[in-house]
Subunit: 549 residues, 2 copies
Amino acid sequence: MSGGTDQTLRPFLWRASNLYPDREIVSRTHRGIERYTYSEYDDRTAMLANALEEYGIDEGDRVGTFCWNHHRHFETYFSVPSMGAQLHTINPLLPDEHIQYIVDNADDELIFVDQSLAPKLAGAAAEAPEFEGVDFVVMGEEGSEELEATPYETFLEGHSADYEWPDLDEDQPAGMCYTSGTTGNPKGVEYTQQMLWSHTMMTLTPQGIPMEDDDVIMPVVPMFHVNAWGFPFTATAAAAKHVYPGPSPDPEDLAGLIENEGVTITAGVPTVWLGLMEYAEDNELDLSALDTVVVGGSAAPRSMIEWFDDRGVELLHAWGMTEMSPLGTTAQLKYTLDDEDYETQLDHRAKQGMLIPSLEMRVIDESGEEVEWNGEDFGELWVRGPSVTQEYFKRPDANEEDFEDGWLKTGDVVTVDEEGYIKIVDRAKDVIKSGGEWISSVELENAIMAHEDVSEAAVVGVPHERWQERPVAFVVPTGGTDTGRLDEEIMDLLREDYPKWWLPDAIEYIDEIPKTATGKFSKKDIRKEYTDESLLEGSVPEEAAPDDD
Amino acid sequence: MSGGTDQTLRPFLWRASNLYPDREIVSRTHRGIERYTYSEYDDRTAMLANALEEYGIDEGDRVGTFCWNHHRHFETYFSVPSMGAQLHTINPLLPDEHIQYIVDNADDELIFVDQSLAPKLAGAAAEAPEFEGVDFVVMGEEGSEELEATPYETFLEGHSADYEWPDLDEDQPAGMCYTSGTTGNPKGVEYTQQMLWSHTMMTLTPQGIPMEDDDVIMPVVPMFHVNAWGFPFTATAAAAKHVYPGPSPDPEDLAGLIENEGVTITAGVPTVWLGLMEYAEDNELDLSALDTVVVGGSAAPRSMIEWFDDRGVELLHAWGMTEMSPLGTTAQLKYTLDDEDYETQLDHRAKQGMLIPSLEMRVIDESGEEVEWNGEDFGELWVRGPSVTQEYFKRPDANEEDFEDGWLKTGDVVTVDEEGYIKIVDRAKDVIKSGGEWISSVELENAIMAHEDVSEAAVVGVPHERWQERPVAFVVPTGGTDTGRLDEEIMDLLREDYPKWWLPDAIEYIDEIPKTATGKFSKKDIRKEYTDESLLEGSVPEEAAPDDD
């Protein structure tokens, strides 16, 4: 036996419930605001473990959840892993066939489901062989009309609040989450006790998202999505107050919780905060307690950072991936930028940020070389570290593609500036590879969409014999626009900011950009429907690659 | 392969030297103040690794240091562990026979030694078979008169600043430190890569000793003593500026470094800060940059906390052990105490504090039961966690005594108050076990020494047939004191604060309390020289134990 004891989650809760027995856990439910203490929470995790044991859950078994953010979901977060089982949080926004695939791939034995999500789960489970033998527990006091299920409170009732938590190995799988891949089936990521412990510690550092005992933490990012960025664990390690916003919170719900519970740190995707900003236009909004809004998922517009700055709230950009547990970077302001002007500071804060301690990265270009940190050169971001998985669950095909020597190939194409701030400029599968160099489809799209007569634009790489790929722009003009004039104006616009070899070889006007289920541009469909090499015939410019200049 | 990549120290330096290449490392040496950057530091750790490899150091070999706090010593901190070898920091204050035992037990192959410490090491090494085959490198540009040794800069010279750092297993031993046991030979503690990684992360949390990139960190606690409480690693993980105070810094040296380098966080034992406080009486001292003084080793007097408070500096009590890497507790003020009056806050801040996240503890009394957290009941503190060792190096005898089921029995007798703050009241071997209850020798000593006619006092337990042990006080009166009167006054003093069964059965007057090599009262010697059961004959009070009342 060398080294210290195993790294597991349970001691975080031990500390919180013993040193801070009266600190609150608050939850918005369909009954209104419910609240209890760490001490009661600790008791209920033990009752749940006893109930799961009686049901037949053993070490190594997988338990699913299909729930929003609330205290009962949080109870599964510590109870299931600490008894040695594995918590599999299922994303209810996925299409039925993905849910079926996931439940089958993970081999879930029991699924906890919200009352409001029971119809969706019932639909996915109906006549699906993947759900054979799976039982359901409905969160709350009542059963379900759609599913044969035990009410959660009945499931817990009569069980002891003492449980002999086992001493687990740190390699014990504790959690599981599937990536919502845009192509093919979702890929499962297993989180060991050690990975979740590491992620908690790394997040808790001043370089991550530090939390203290007087903080009030509200994760708006869903608990079905990479453990709500690990906030339920980090907040417990800090013995902070937890606030869970419940099913489908609207801006008014969030505003009420922030004001009434004194939320100091919250986290969510940009659209959540856009909603809050709109709400604030017509309503009084007291943000005096709020310190930090963590934004991830996609980039926050600069104006959003400024809006919160004006109100004394720090908008902290963060970036991560399911494969990373998930936190990878935060865009904290470096001490070297303290004396820079506000615009220069914003330039950095609007990026994805710097790696948190103990992660490492490489940024690899087309030729397999590491790119220079100059804020301009592109490469694919590779990362590794104690919180980064080194494989997908039962997916050797995907492993070969996405991992190399312990490194995760993130699939994100980035620049790194002189200060070490990462900026995502494209996805690796969308970046346009022209003459050995990369062109960012995202940058071209944003530039084109800045034209007032353009409603949507997507730029994709079209195969090209000489240059490998060349960019073609698909543009949806606003009604009645003269596309002949628009052609010229778009090209002029692009010439201002980009080298000639970046300019699209062709602009195609279409009625609508195809979208994915979650509303994003589906470049896969564009490529399938619209592009073939004939688009480019006779149109290759002389300056198609920089090496050729 | 399950989970993330191994937890090792090297990525901390990777991040600091890549994201903060120009951040400084400053060192006071016999040549004055020397300074360079993380980037140069990183280069020199690679040069050192190449030099060590050429010398013949392999993965798993042990490399000793016999040095004060300076940049070259810090170079060994990352270089040796990151090449897979093990850094063994030797305490030069130990007696020669302990140094010989340690070098033999650890099997050191090469020892880095300070110029100023070479005479001491040469003395220990002279004609000692334990030192056979051990080579020496003297820190600095020059050789040594006392030892046949290579100068450090010569050792490094000509080596490449590139080194292919291996991907290490997290169980790889990385460090080693010996406890300076008061009885028997020192006991070795091995630190794996994982333990040091865990300790770094746990220390870096807001609940530990958080550090940021704008911090300037000066460990005064020696780097030969439990890695200077891990500060060189934590400061690097935070990419803070390092300041090393060099050999035997006096208060003026420390004051100069604090003022000129803008030190924000420093750490040391109380006597260091007493020295600084005395210096400040006669000299201007600018503490405006200083945020936190971390105090451990022994308890800081309340007046010291107040003195720093008056100057806008937080004195943060911390407690730890060599076996714990070492940090165990910090006496940060809980949010629940924010609104209490200053005296109540001080009551808590003057204790050793609360466990940092992911450590667990038990406090076990004489009967093997956990004591109540009421601030009064005593028990021995047991701890466990990822940074706490579970064994001594090659010492099965000591392992059996000090470890149980992964728990370290700290040997400290403590109370825990309702808020969870730990206070050390005695050492387990010194606490007096009377009638199934424990009496704190330390509390009685402090109470007796509060009498103006007492210069020193030690209280030890003397074996007793009925009560197991009974306290006897050994008192050194100030010159010319009437000991007959003193007897009465001491007993009156104790009666005010303690139950009758705590009162010593006898007071013996002696000329001097025997001391250990480091100047502490040697109760072992008191027991050996002075006590036998006859001291207590006919003196047993009726109230010798509370159960008997």
